[in-house]
Each structure stands twice: as C-alpha cells, then as structure tokens.
Symmetry: C2
Subunit: 193 residues, 2 copies
Amino acid sequence: MSQDRPLPTTSYALLGLLSFGRELTGYELKQFADRTLRFYWTSPAMSQIYTELARLAERGWVDADERSGGERTTTHYSISDAGMGELRRWLRDSTPEFMQLKHPVALRLLLGHLVPPDVVRGWLETYLAQLDGQRAALREVLEGIEDDDRYAFPAHVARWGLAIYDEEEATTTGVEQALDERRVSGRGRRRRS
Amino acid sequence: MSQDRPLPTTSYALLGLLSFGRELTGYELKQFADRTLRFYWTSPAMSQIYTELARLAERGWVDADERSGGERTTTHYSISDAGMGELRRWLRDSTPEFMQLKHPVALRLLLGHLVPPDVVRGWLETYLAQLDGQRAALREVLEGIEDDDRYAFPAHVARWGLAIYDEEEATTTGVEQALDERRVSGRGRRRRS
DNA sequence: TGTAGCATGTAAGCCGTTACATGATTGA
DNA sequence: TCAATCATGTAACGGCTTACATGCTACA
C-alpha cells in the first residue's frame, strides 16, 4: 500500500499540529498554521492543506470524519494512532537540516551601494514596522499558552521566535546608525584604518 | 520583446552578484552564491544557475562571452548596462517581503513532548555544532571584505548573519538549560504559578 | 440584502531540485 | 593513471502558489 517515498517536512508539520489532539477542518488547520507554523516554517496555502490532508488520510495517518450538517458536508480530521506513531518515528529518525533563511531585506542591503541612501533607509524602516507587527502577533500566541504546561514546548518555540525578532530589530537599527555615521564621515576612502 | 512576467527574486540575486563587476562562468557564480547568497537567501542548484543565466541573457541583462579555449567552450557572463539599470529599478521599485524562516529544529521542538528528552537534546546539540560551522564560514567571508570600503554593504550583511547566529546559539543553549531544569523540578503539574 | 467569513476543492503553472549525461583539465 | 575539480547542460518531477469555481452561514 502507498509508495514509501518520504513525505515532505510540511506534511509532518501539519500532522504535528493535529497531534495536539483537536479535530480540525482544513480551514481550521490553515488558521492554526497561520498562528504557529508561519513563524518558523511556512503556512501552506489552503489548496495545499487539502492536498496534504488527503495524502495523510490515504496513508491512514489521519482519520477523516465527514459530517453532513444539514446541506453541507464538512470534513473534520484527527490524527490516528498510526499517525502518532509515524510522527514519533519521524521525530526520532529524521535529521533536521540547518535553518534556512530567506531575508529579502538583507539580500537588497547587499546591493545598497546601487541605490540612494534613502531607499536603503526605507527598506530598514519598513522592515522594523513589519517586525513590530509580527512580534505582536507572536507575543499574543505566547501569552495564550505560556501558563499551560502542556504547551511548554510550543512556548519555547514562541520565545525562540521572539528572540529572533529582538535580534533583528537590534541589528536593523544598528545598520541604520552605521549608515548615518557613514554619511557624516568621509566618502571617497577605499580602505580604512 | 520577451514577455514581461517579473523574474523571481533569485534571478535578481544572481544579477546582483554579477553587479560586483567580475566576469563569471556559471560554475564560478555557483561558488560565489555558496559563499554569500546561501546565508540569507538560497544558493540555487547548478542547473538552476545555468537556466537563470540563459534567461538573463535572453533579456539582455547579462552578456555571454563564449570562449573556445582549445577544445572546450566555457561561457563567461557579465552584467550589461541594461542589466545594471534593471537591477537598480528592481531595488527601488520592488517591496521586500518579510523575512521567511525555515527552522527544522524549532519545528521539531514544537513537538518535543512526543519524544524522550535525549532526542530533543540531540537536536539542539547538533544544531549548535552546525551553527559553529556556519559561523566560521561566514566569519571567513567577512574577514575577506571588511577592510574594503567597496564592500561596506556586503560586510553589513555578513555581520547581520553573524548576529543571527549569535542569537541562535544563545537561544539554543537557553532552551537546553530550561530543559535541564524542567527535568529536576516536578513533572506532573498542569499549570504553574 | 449583501458582504464577510466558513468551507472545499481543481487546474495551471512556476520555482527549484535531483538524477542523468558528458567531457576537459589538473595534480597526486 | 586515476580521482577530483572544472564546466555545462537536459529531463523529470515534486512542492507549492495563484487563479478559478462553488456554495453555505451569520450578521449588519
């Protein structure tokens, strides 16, 4: 049954969300992912969620409970015992790759010399604002779970995310300051010290 | 000419590397990306590099210089004036998205309660080791450029990366310690304080 | 009454990877 | 002479997104 090509990490991420025990619709799972996964992985598109759930169901790792509540049919998914086993197996056996960062601002900063300083400053300012928004969202998540020992691990992860945001803010403002100083001091130099 | 579907960020990243002025083969560009892009974006696969270069050449943003050095033909690519213009335009006009993190260790940590503590500790230890390796590589890059004012922006980016690695190390060891303390103190609690 | 949110999917297609294929050059 | 590195590509295909399509429910 079912070819044993290993599933991508995203499948396990979703299975992991279901492992917290609630029965969820695809729609609810997406919301869950938006509040959690998106900070350190990705929150897959809706269409991807449904595809993933179908695949997990096919392997027997989630149970699909179709409910015809009146006219409409909604499907609630819950992790199965086999799914819990598979998740545990994956956690033990797979070796986590190194963190992978896609940092559009850092990428552009690399080429900062090609644009006027104000453009660079604009990137950094926008980034700081985004950072505030993301941090607020993540802090809210943390506040919802940090007193509950059942969510001790998720709380660690949330704090981890906040630490990254703090560092990002510090670094960004640091770069801004360096840029300001550079403007004041001489320009034409080729090598310093 | 050429449909104006905007190119993906990766194309501009490669164009950006070429903007530093050297004439590069696809092979050399890959090495360059491995030393730079990989820390805050991605270093595309070789095949992707060649595909990208072909596409950039098609649009006239890079010039391809085919050299038949004896038997073999190697192609050296350099950014064109049009390419420089397009790169500047992109830097000004595109709005950078928010940083995107794929953090396999954080993802697994979320599910730490499903595996024995030693497995979690293993993830963290391995991560710390990887971190050391990455940091050493990045520091080497920084040391190669930090005295040269032409690379002031790249140096900022490298320092940014190092700041992230420092934060990651601190956070990781912090989680390790929290895990140790948790082991000593009581387990069965549901809510604390 | 109409709009926002709930809920589910299919289709097309891009991005990027791995696998495969080929061959020259250089140094041990 | 053999292996590693230089160098260039093609093919297949997986992952994931956007666009499209559909319809219910609750609320203002």
